[in-house]
Structure formats: structure tokens, C-alpha cells
């Protein structure tokens, strides 16, 4: 970096830099600020989505009470949200264990579908194989535009599943799709803050479902 003609403007970006203390202070300040931002985004999202969460949670509880199962899916970090969601419902911290499956877990199925029919169909083909009309489809996508998510929601809607989407932009294809019954949108420019808020939304949905089922509602 020292060969850059403008390096005198940025003496801190210097290959001769040795003292870590200033950077450690900056890093900690940055972390503290982002922790606040993350919690602000999550709090604001939960407040803004409270009505949709209540409705979606009640609809999910009714499906579970009727023997429905939850299928979760997403790509990349959102795939791990799908996996974590399945674990949350199947091995809950409290309340009733509920049937949930992540469609990203079976690598044989994923690679077979991606190789033979195309990556855009990896979730919709599994919906075709597994889903019954009383089931629930939950999809995570920070962009809200992933083609394989949209295909899965279209297939799920066609088969009368309850469809719930979590995404990051109001104008995303997922947020405006007729195939998504409840789309919970996080307003943030940061993929990371969106993912963190998706977790908070899903935990809240899970808690609402548990409250309904413990009161015998939705059955």
C-alpha cells in the first residue's frame, strides 16, 4: 500500500503499521455500533410485522393442529436458517415438538436435482414429492428474488400449502408474488442485518404457534 501515491492521506493503511491498540479500539467500536443496529432492525421489524406475524402464526398453528408439516428452504446462509428453523420446531426450547423438515439437508437429492433438472427447481421438485395440502412452506431469501425460491412458492401455492416468505426488500419478487401468503420483509441494506432479523421473525412465529397450540386454539 505504501507505493500508492495517496498513501500519505491514509497513514493508518500502512504496511509498517505495528501497534494493534488503535485498531482494536476501532474494531470494538464498530462491533458495538453494529450490535445496536442489529437489535434496532430486529426490534423495528418485529413491531412493523406484528400484525402479519399474528396472522401467519395463527394459520401455521391451524395447519400443525390439522397434522400439517413445515418445509423450510433457502440458499447459502439462508439455507442454514432453513436448517435452524427445522431444528427449532423439532427440538423446541419449550412447548410441543412439531414436524418440520429442511429441504437443503439431503445432498444426494440437492445435487441430483441441480444436475439433472437445474438449480432453479431444487426446492420445487421436493415440494412436488413431499408436500400435502395441509402443509406449510417457509422460504428465506435476503434478496427475495432467487428463482428457485419463487418456483418453490409457486408449486407450494398450487398444492394449497400455507406459504410464508422472509426476505429483504419491499419490491422483491417474493414480496409481491401471489404465491406467497405472508411475506415478512426486513428493511435494511445489509444482508447480515436482514438474516439476523429473519431469525428473530422466525423465532417469533414459532412462539406464536406454540401459544396457539398450548391454548388449544387452531385445533
Amino acid at each position: 500500500m505504501t507505493s500508492e501515491p495517496t498513501s500519505f492521506l491514509y497513514p493508518f493503511i500502512d504496511s509498517e503499521e505495528r501497534d494493534t491498540s488503535a485498531l482494536l479500539v476501532d474494531l470494538a467500536a464498530s462491533a458495538r455500533s453494529k450490535i445496536h443496529q442489529s437489535r434496532d432492525v430486529r426490534r423495528a421489524t418485529l413491531e412493523r410485522c406484528a400484525g402479519a406475524l399474528a396472522q401467519a402464526g395463527a394459520a401455521m398453528a391451524a395447519r400443525f393442529a390439522g397434522g400439517g408439516r413445515l418445509f423450510a428452504f433457502g440458499n447459502g446462509g439462508s439455507a442454514t436458517d432453513a436448517e435452524g428453523t427445522a431444528q427449532l420446531f423439532c427440538e423446541p426450547p419449550g412447548g410441543r415438538a412439531l414436524p418440520a423438515l429442511s429441504l437443503v439437508d439431503d445432498r444426494a437429492v440437492l445435487t441430483a436435482l441441480a444436475n439433472d433438472v437445474g438449480y432453479e427447481l431444487v426446492f420445487s421438485r421436493q415440494i412436488i414429492a413431499h408436500a400435502r395440502p395441509g402443509d406449510i412452506a417457509v422460504g428465506f431469501s435476503t434478496s427475495g428474488g432467487s428463482v428457485n425460491m419463487l418456483r418453490a412458492f409457486e408449486e407450494a401455492s398450487r398444492r394449497h400449502l400455507l406459504t410464508i416468505g422472509l426476505c429483504g426488500y419491499e419490491k422483491a419478487a417474493m414480496a409481491t408474488s401471489d404465491a406467497v401468503d405472508y411475506c415478512l420483509v426486513v428493511r435494511s441494506e445489509s444482508v447480515h442485518r436482514i438474516q439476523e432479523a429473519h431469525d428473530a421473525l422466525m423465532l417469533e412465529l414459532w412462539a406464536i404457534v406454540q401459544r396457539h397450540l398450548s391454548h388449544g386454539e387452531g385445533s
Partner: protein
């Protein structure tokens, strides 16, 4: 308050120090081994953050998720001394505790992220913890994910400071385990007969005298000082 939220702003200083170490280890050629035995989705999530960054232009870094059930054998075979083990778990997870202890013998730097009661000291070089949070909720509320999102982000900030990537941090602990007379954790490889055993300690094979702790078998952990095994730490069945 959000579910699992704590009053504290979070472990910002611990994240900063962990990111500094992690960037330095990566710069030296390390691979990041990710495990999360109670919550497997977190080990995959943290690995994909490093391998396929969400911000275009950030370098891809070698991070690999290992499933909890096979983690001990896989990491022992795959990791090289100087690599980093990142564990995401509760403080009392037996599989994680076993891995962290062995990782010391394998010569790995350990970063431990989690929630709930804070672990006792000495199990990892860097502990990044959400104390006071209910770990069963924090793991799904976004708080645990936030910690490793920030670890990734801060690690890349350190990469913008090439001068700081070279040196290892000075030993600032009051009692530094590598500089003191304390014993080192060793993992038994083979009994050689006559009370001597071959062990791996700090990532290197050494022959030590195990007469004080015999019988020992492959996989046992012992505390070694000056070429002598002083204490058996466990039978590896944890």
C-alpha cells in the same frame, strides 16, 4: 427486549481481539475449522460467510464446517498446527469441550462463540460470549448469528491493515500458558512399551514418559511437563 437479549451491548472487545487473531492466522495460511455440535446450522453458516462473502470483492477465505458426530476424527486428520478451530455452542456441551481440549494438543488456536453461562477460563484463546442470554433462544433470535457475522466483518477490516497481519500479539496474559511452567495438553497416539508413549502436543509428535499415568491408550489426553505425563485428563469418551 428481544428474546434472549442481554442488557450489555455484547462482547465487542472480545470480538475485536478474536478478529485480530483470526486475520493473522489466515494471513499465515491457516484454515478455519467450524464446529457447532448442538446447532449444526451455525457451523455451516459461519463457514459459508468466509468462503463466499456477501460483499463482492472481499477475499474468499478457507473455512470448513465439520459435523459434530465426526468432528474429532475429521479435525484431527485434516487440521494442521497453526489452524483455527471455531466452536459455536453452549459452555457445557461435552462434544465441544472435548474438541477444544484436543485442539490444544493439535496446535490449533481456539475461538469459542456461545451464549448462556460463560465457560470457565482456559478452554479457548478467544471466548466471545452472550452472558445472561438463554442459549436456546439466542441461537435462533439472531444474536448468535450476529456474533459470527461481526467476526467475519472485523476479520476483513484487519486485512486492510497489512502491517498488523505479520506479528503475533504479544503475550499479555498474567500467566501465559506457553511461557510458564504449566503442563501442556497432549493426546496419546501409541504406547511404545517400557512406560513410554508417543503423543501429539502443540501439533508435534513427542515421546514422553507415561509411567505416572499408566495405563493409557490411543486418544487419551494427558497433561505433560518436561517430557513426563503428570495427569490423565480423560479417556476421550466425553
Amino acid at each position: 427486549m428481544l428474546p434472549g437479549e442481554t442488557e450489555e451491548c455484547g462482547p465487542a472487545e472480545d470480538l475485536a481481539a478474536a478478529a485480530m487473531t483470526l486475520a493473522r492466522r489466515f494471513a499465515a495460511g491457516a484454515t478455519l475449522w467450524c464446529v457447532a455440535p448442538p446447532w449444526p446450522s451455525h457451523s455451516r453458516h459461519v463457514a459459508v460467510e468466509f468462503v463466499h462473502p456477501v460483499i463482492v470483492g472481499k477475499r474468499a477465505l478457507p473455512a470448513i464446517s465439520i459435523d459434530g458426530a465426526r468432528a474429532r476424527e475429521s479435525v484431527r486428520l485434516l487440521a494442521r498446527p497453526g489452524d483455527v478451530l471455531l466452536a459455536v455452542s453452549t459452555a457445557d456441551d461435552a462434544c465441544t469441550l472435548d474438541l477444544l481440549e484436543r485442539a490444544e494438543a493439535w496446535g490449533l488456536t481456539r475461538v469459542w462463540i456461545g451464549a448462556g453461562p460463560r465457560p470457565l477460563g482456559g478452554r479457548a484463546e478467544h471466548v466471545v460470549w452472550l452472558e445472561g442470554a438463554d442459549p436456546r433462544l439466542a441461537t435462533r433470535s439472531g444474536d448468535v448469528v450476529l456474533l459470527y457475522h461481526l467476526l467475519w466483518e472485523l476479520t476483513h477490516v484487519v486485512f486492510e491493515h497489512p502491517g498488523l497481519l505479520r506479528a503475533e500479539p504479544d503475550c499479555t496474559e498474567e500467566v501465559c500458558i506457553t511461557c510458564s511452567d504449566e503442563g501442556r495438553v497432549a493426546e496419546v497416539r501409541h504406547a511404545l512399551g517400557g512406560g513410554m508413549v508417543e503423543v501429539i502436543v502443540e501439533g508435534r509428535l513427542e515421546t514422553i514418559d507415561a509411567t505416572l499415568v499408566e495405563p493409557v491408550t490411543s486418544g487419551d489426553l494427558v497433561l505433560v511437563h518436561a517430557g513426563v505425563a503428570l495427569t490423565a485428563l480423560g479417556d476421550g469418551s466425553a
